[in-house]
Amino acid sequence: MTRPGAPAHPVTWLPTAITAFATVVALALELAWLPRLPAEIAIHWSGSGVADGSGPSWTVPVMTTAIGLLCVGLTIAMRRGVAAGARLGSAVVVTAAVLVAVLAPTMMGGQLEGGRVDILPPLLLGALGGIALGALVVVLAGRGPVPPSRSTSATPLPLAADERAVWLGHATLGRGAAIALAVVQLAVTALVVWAAAQSGAWALIAIPVVVAVLVIGFLEWRVRIDRSGLIVRPLIGAPAFRVPLDRVAGADTVQVEPLADFGGWGVRVGATATGVITRAGEAISVERIGQRRLVVTVDDAEAAVALLAALRAAPRSA
């Protein structure tokens, strides 16, 4: 078993450092200004930049802290990622954290002693600064050692000359991810039903229904390895990943960290690997000729890889 993650590298701490620093500076400014602000301040602006909503001023530092902690946590979770997906993910998180860190204190500062604030300049400044630092992260962070190329290191399953074998498995969403999905799904459904009831546009309900069908359809993937190669198919049947035996360049078992290696769960397309990622842990990693590696989280990955190696070593009658 090998872990695709790179060892700790100074630059991999860059996203976390930027995020934490921006949050601490923003929070310090906000706390310093809090006593000089009225209890209620403008906290929401319309599309044209005119303030259209207000709230208690203490919510700003609370939100800054919450968003900052979330962003720092995400950058730490993605730290070990070597896939481009994790690098891009860290960059997006840094961009968001910097935007909030610029926006929240300037919004407060502008309202000191009852002044009015125009939200557009800090919004622009925050976005530009965030994107610039995000770009820096894409270029610098995660430039750790390249993951080792994984040729077939598995011992091929001993097969007799005429013996036929099939390996069947499944990639099933982990319990935590399934619960999170169900909660989001319920929340979205409730929101849409409420919106539909308000507006009378009942056709809107089709949206959560379609989403639910897709979510249920992708909860489980069936994986089969036999003399025709590898096939990974979701419960609803399509889209399936098929890798014919003669397109398999190698296979190995790997340990997957969904957020770090693939930036999340589900069907993940990265620069170096495509993943069907349903949970952390054991997975098969199949090197494809002329295509990205295909990584699928399955139990009993060792047996799957051993069979794939055996079938590849002895390409007999189809």
Partner: protein, 117 residues
Amino acid sequence: MLLRVDPASEAPLFAQLAASVRREIARGALTAGDRLPAARDVAAALDVNVHTVLRAYQELREEGVVDLRRGRGAVVATGATVALELRDAVRVLVADARRRGVALPTLTALIQEEYRS
């Protein structure tokens, strides 16, 4: 789960398939409640007759290894993992036999004799 059949072997295909399932349960790749794949899928993947697969499942059902339920297919039975508990004892026994230079046919004969007494 890994299923394998060798047409060159003397054992009938259905018996080889049943043995495959038993082996997967013994090594923990299949546990109680797991569903066996649909017979026609196994038949297609291994290029054997569907009735061969069904006969293997039937044999496993008679042994109490799987439950056959209409609509749900073959499900590994709750009692099936008992074999797993014997595995460690078997491992010790085989290691002991190897150390003493006892060949497999002799060991098998000893087990059969003990089982029938």
